[in-house]
Symmetry: D4
Subunit: 255 residues, 8 copies
Amino acid sequence: MNERELHELLTAVSSGKLSAGKAVQRLKHLPFEDLDFAKVDHHRALRQGYAEVIFGKGKTSAQVAEIVRSMLRHKASRQNVLITRADAKIFAAVRRANRGVARASKFYPLSGVITIERSSEISGKGVICIVSAGTSDIPVAEEALLTAKMMGNRVEHLYDVGVAGIHRLLQHRDKLTSARVVICIAGMEGALPSVVGGLVAAPVIAVPTSVGYGASFGGVAALLGMLNSCASNVSVVNIDNGFGAACVASCINRL
Amino acid sequence: MNERELHELLTAVSSGKLSAGKAVQRLKHLPFEDLDFAKVDHHRALRQGYAEVIFGKGKTSAQVAEIVRSMLRHKASRQNVLITRADAKIFAAVRRANRGVARASKFYPLSGVITIERSSEISGKGVICIVSAGTSDIPVAEEALLTAKMMGNRVEHLYDVGVAGIHRLLQHRDKLTSARVVICIAGMEGALPSVVGGLVAAPVIAVPTSVGYGASFGGVAALLGMLNSCASNVSVVNIDNGFGAACVASCINRL
Amino acid sequence: MNERELHELLTAVSSGKLSAGKAVQRLKHLPFEDLDFAKVDHHRALRQGYAEVIFGKGKTSAQVAEIVRSMLRHKASRQNVLITRADAKIFAAVRRANRGVARASKFYPLSGVITIERSSEISGKGVICIVSAGTSDIPVAEEALLTAKMMGNRVEHLYDVGVAGIHRLLQHRDKLTSARVVICIAGMEGALPSVVGGLVAAPVIAVPTSVGYGASFGGVAALLGMLNSCASNVSVVNIDNGFGAACVASCINRL
Amino acid sequence: MNERELHELLTAVSSGKLSAGKAVQRLKHLPFEDLDFAKVDHHRALRQGYAEVIFGKGKTSAQVAEIVRSMLRHKASRQNVLITRADAKIFAAVRRANRGVARASKFYPLSGVITIERSSEISGKGVICIVSAGTSDIPVAEEALLTAKMMGNRVEHLYDVGVAGIHRLLQHRDKLTSARVVICIAGMEGALPSVVGGLVAAPVIAVPTSVGYGASFGGVAALLGMLNSCASNVSVVNIDNGFGAACVASCINRL
Amino acid sequence: MNERELHELLTAVSSGKLSAGKAVQRLKHLPFEDLDFAKVDHHRALRQGYAEVIFGKGKTSAQVAEIVRSMLRHKASRQNVLITRADAKIFAAVRRANRGVARASKFYPLSGVITIERSSEISGKGVICIVSAGTSDIPVAEEALLTAKMMGNRVEHLYDVGVAGIHRLLQHRDKLTSARVVICIAGMEGALPSVVGGLVAAPVIAVPTSVGYGASFGGVAALLGMLNSCASNVSVVNIDNGFGAACVASCINRL
Amino acid sequence: MNERELHELLTAVSSGKLSAGKAVQRLKHLPFEDLDFAKVDHHRALRQGYAEVIFGKGKTSAQVAEIVRSMLRHKASRQNVLITRADAKIFAAVRRANRGVARASKFYPLSGVITIERSSEISGKGVICIVSAGTSDIPVAEEALLTAKMMGNRVEHLYDVGVAGIHRLLQHRDKLTSARVVICIAGMEGALPSVVGGLVAAPVIAVPTSVGYGASFGGVAALLGMLNSCASNVSVVNIDNGFGAACVASCINRL
Amino acid sequence: MNERELHELLTAVSSGKLSAGKAVQRLKHLPFEDLDFAKVDHHRALRQGYAEVIFGKGKTSAQVAEIVRSMLRHKASRQNVLITRADAKIFAAVRRANRGVARASKFYPLSGVITIERSSEISGKGVICIVSAGTSDIPVAEEALLTAKMMGNRVEHLYDVGVAGIHRLLQHRDKLTSARVVICIAGMEGALPSVVGGLVAAPVIAVPTSVGYGASFGGVAALLGMLNSCASNVSVVNIDNGFGAACVASCINRL
Amino acid sequence: MNERELHELLTAVSSGKLSAGKAVQRLKHLPFEDLDFAKVDHHRALRQGYAEVIFGKGKTSAQVAEIVRSMLRHKASRQNVLITRADAKIFAAVRRANRGVARASKFYPLSGVITIERSSEISGKGVICIVSAGTSDIPVAEEALLTAKMMGNRVEHLYDVGVAGIHRLLQHRDKLTSARVVICIAGMEGALPSVVGGLVAAPVIAVPTSVGYGASFGGVAALLGMLNSCASNVSVVNIDNGFGAACVASCINRL
């Protein structure tokens, strides 16, 4: 039941067509959320600048292509579409099924991201700076970067600035301090967010990566390091969750 | 907003005292659950036979006594009151503050349970049988037993029937097979639910206890054993959660 | 030794063919369970409505086909046959080897379940409602659904109602509250059973799934979440154990 | 070397008193950070609105009192002072040693926080809403609340709105949606941030607490739940780290 | 039902007082284990040389004293009594309540063992050698030593022969190689059983101890080390389980 | 240096060909173990009845074949040869390279064991009984069985006697109680050794297997269950270590 | 800004072309490390004798070949090049792309190491002795050995000297005690460093390997064993990190 | 048997007093290590400059005092004595029992170290620099500092230089780069060794501390961080093991 329907029901009561008692019955069992279900979704998209997002992993290429088609059909709005954890096969299916946007769609094999850019509007107020420790962390960084861009943010990046060569990081302090939000991506010991957190006043979203071997335990060492960061402006998302970090950052950057 | 209030609002619309538009505004933001908030609680209590329950741990004796007083004052119904994880100090405060029910209240130091029995109505359809492996598991078993009783169930128990002396368990097979629900409590290797589950057709609620040392890891060994039970009628609750097991069992026993 | 053999032995004593002393010797070492070995199994099947079940994983397709043939041959009863964790190769072998039931057998590739339906008798008293959080949890949900059906239950399902969009769940409250048992399946943070448990009076069987990545640790995060549920009508089975949840639910639904 | 000293050095070069070569030598080995060491700290305080903070745990009451005295003496600025993880003994020592601010200092035994309020200036742009699941989570919530206040934020709170009674949370949706940043505190299964994250567009800082027993493993269950949240606007800080959550929230609220 | 009662029943059949059919009914439901319940216990004690054992932890001193009295009263046999994980208070209560054996009872505060020696018969065939790595492992070693002695074994010990000073161990090779069973006790890295296992042909029972700090994780490091021993004659018991190791060793030593 | 060489050296001293001082120098730095290096190995083989063993995993088929050839060449003794964790390719290489024993060699694909039987001498005093819980545990059971046989033991086995159908185990009590050593193999909850340990007086060597899924954590659940066994005659070896269990059992069976 | 540029700036101040104030501005924000960025790198290489190192894992063969070409082009110095975690495909690409050094380059498939030897200068003062426990540890040992050699050290090795055959180790005591640094590599229980540490006075760098199965948990058992070593001259690097151990050893051997 | 005794034995052979055969018998069973047992210990002390060390934890004050007395009595050498993990009570007992050195003995309550300085000889070649991250890490740092001093090293320290304020560390780069060995102590995320390792060419011994709360897991987060350090000159010792780090550093500093 949407607002219009609710209005009609109440008008019927007002005009005597429907008794108060019967209206009570209908309203009592009405799923509350139904009232503004679509609106909530709509509002979230408007406020957070969320692109339409599909988590590709575990879906067939046909399914993903179908969902994209449905998105493009039903939305008058020109929101960007973002598919994460995808592969070349999914990309081919998406392009085949949606020829209208084939030219606007790109596949990034390193991070497994597909983007369909339909809007280049910038809704984030400042710059999101994405910092990563090693070259192996770049796939996660790229997922974060593309997500942040598709959500309407200006993004800068700073790669391969691990803490064992601290001068590489210090050289780029200007870039860091001018960002409104910093996303900090590191595997192994996950020490980068502590150092970066101490250098900037902005909120730092830390992303542990599964890069490493042995006692890195698939990213657990980095995760624990980040949760125990001695810098107090650091919060953490799941291992390898570049997408999530960009969502949080984008959500902050709109404030 | 309860049903009566909703009726009044709609009558106001019906009589022209309130416009349909204003009613829409009020209803649109009305927290849905508010409509039947009290009722839900009421219904749950009626259906599940839940006694009023207070988790004593982390509350001062004064706070617990005050909550009990409030329960006794506001409820015309004569529901039993159950306080778990309590101690002698809390018991003294409860008795002092609620002289009217002092005689009906009892403290069980082994399990730290306080009961205020105000109803002896049996609402469970069958018998809940509580089986425990070792003497050290008895505190958890007692918490389960008292909880099940306060919720209106007939309860039997079978203590100290660990699997290393399987004959002790087999001797009491009749008791086991005649139960409608079985609660199975064990520490150390937590093997009892698998054996019991194979002997009965009833659902078995398994409770791992923190009894043990070394590689029992405070109940983790028993918990894992129970989650991996080769008997397919076994489900599991948290370590030492005798209360929870009795809630689940009671909820089943009312079906 | 079955009942007839025991009778013969005692008749021999009665007729003086066997001395009491010798009978004592024979009976003293008699494996007690041997008396009713077959009966116990028979009784369990009758009471719990268990279909014949084969755990396919780790068995060759020939082995599975052979077990099915043996089941179909020896059982006059028309019980359903259920094979879990199977694949297309096993399915082909089962069909080839059991042509008589080939039309009654189906393979569900998503969950890896094979069913041979020989009875559509409903023995469960109410409806089992299967609720799952995300689309990736559906394979586990399907295993639960097919198991519950093969065991003679009416089953409904509610998929993709994760807690981050709580309105989707609230919209279907009627379905939830009318179920006699609820099976609640979720990966990632495993929060669904707590919310569902608070909405219904029925017992909730929670199934953590291995869906997720990074700090989901193959379902451990969801498992821990469910074991620590603040709703007191929730009990838990092993990660991805849709079959086990349906067994427990079916066993409750027969009470 | 501060800015003035650098100026003097360069003036000496300019006036010929020091050769360019010698200045190179001195500047080459000059610790860079020394230049703006004090300023950086100053800037961080100004920008982030950080009160002066002392982590009380592991320090003697005399040490804490001494640090407070030093803070009060050297700072012309009227920044608030915050001492976390303190006790009554530390509070007494702080009051004795700093009589000038004794009236402005308060001790909150539940959370172990001492505040010395010297400024009531509000520097945060919006409201930080602190939501907690159970009454046992309130100490951590209080640490977050006092930290956020001392850092110049307007703060609202919403306690005891755990997910097993989802209606309690939905009733207060207005409070939630009007906040600029949400801090979400929960022990046990840690499901609250997922539900809250789905209801609001603001960033949600999740704090797992060590509340629980058995398989909560001192907050690990809640921590994992939060890291795996299916709501994409959630990031996480360390277990029981109410202080850290408030720092991150405050840092966002100033953007 | 004991052997005599079974004999009476069969005599009744033999004499025609009881029909074969009725005897079948009684025997069919007779709990099998009841037949030889006492005997089994008796047999186990005779065969394994088990002393009567009480696990003192979690029992009150009154309870332990009462159990001891019951043991001494009912047993004509002169078996040794062993109480593990006890303290001085329990010892006092045991002595007070059992004056007859007060002189025969001893308390070993290091290991918390109480012994009541009533028999010095040696039933083990060879020598059990107890080897421990560091002085802090001696409490566990003492528990093993006293248990083995009370169960009728000749015992030798070799303390403080950790692997970082391998010569200390090699000096005593004769003692090691002449033992029939070796119990090997070590905390920290738990390497001793691997070295000892390589030096002897006898079975080695390894006991990890909780001695250590930091990454010893309360004995987990030692436990894992022992489970992964490259010596193939090593098996392992629980952390700090000196009693269990001695039971296994005693049971082997009687073969 | 062997005993003969030592004798020659001392004869040289005795005859004046070598001064005492020079002999001191040679003996002082003589690696002690060198004296009886071969003998120790020889003795171990004789006493423990160890067959020659090769751990196949991680070795090429050529390497394994070469080691076998060397064993067969250098040993006059007719010891059995055992290769564990092997595959069909290794088996082919072994047969090709060692035609003389090709007929005596067998490959068991289930367990990956290759045996070359050259002696059927029985050196173990009693029977080793191998008990396993489920059909999936049979590969580990087979490794144990073949190892025990190759080391000269009489072996019996009892498969598929898991604790959820306790009657299956009780039926075979005679087989269990007549064994001199029991090897007990189980995955999932690992409860079998506790039940078996309570039924027999013999030492029980427990082997956890990696059979299971979800919270079995690759055998950890079974391992913990066995380490916490409430039966005191149980000791444990590494997960899936059928070979190790048979070594320990064989070593006991020779006592 | 390098030293020359700094000199130019200061010359400009000296000559009056640039005011002291403006120079302060430029220098104040100058990234300090920029001054001697190249030098630091240069110094590290000179002092530590580090070969140029490429971590091959996660890089394409083309990328690795390109990096090697760049190294060879830009460096007048004749430093050795080391590529770790590589494979045959990378080796082929490296040879193709760098024909000038094709003859000097070698690939070691066991450890996945590629070396390009351009200098045979020995810069380490003593011998690094690499000791490993089992044949399966040799790949890690080889990585350590080649790394140490490429960094200019004399290296000896001692393989297959596990602690269960302690005589094998004692035979080679001379080799051990004459080393200046010992690298000790072991999987399974990781006991070797404790024994070796007790035999030598030199620092021992312990490397746990992921060799083992079951409760070795991919090297965790060995790692914990080494961290808890009772020998006080032992420090530890990550699981399978032969490269890291050789770096530490090389760095010590240059002192 | 020492060298002299061996000489006597061989002289007896040489002179015909002892036959070669009998000498073989005596030498064959001679514990090899006995030859140089005392010497080894002596050598280790001389080479490694180890003070006499007593681990105080778990020993009574009387025991420690007695061991100290024995050390002082038997040693002509004037080695320093070091007691770690001690308390005031142990210190009092040591002073009472050893009045001769009472003035030379000191107790450091922060770290629980007692030193008896009898020699101020410096045997280490360079400076050991001890760097720690936070004030709470100082107890562990002090244990390392006093151990290193007692073992004859020049020691410098740098406290409270955590990575969240990187400028504090960079200011003291000279101190760091002039050290021959660096000990790096940090709790929480344990990031300091990675940063320090990148700044210096010397070997860095990393010590994780148990400082932290929540997801620091008693030092595990710091330990994992250090094991995964991206700086290749870092090796690690056990959590809180300041003593061990100083032993390793001292052993290196003597090379």
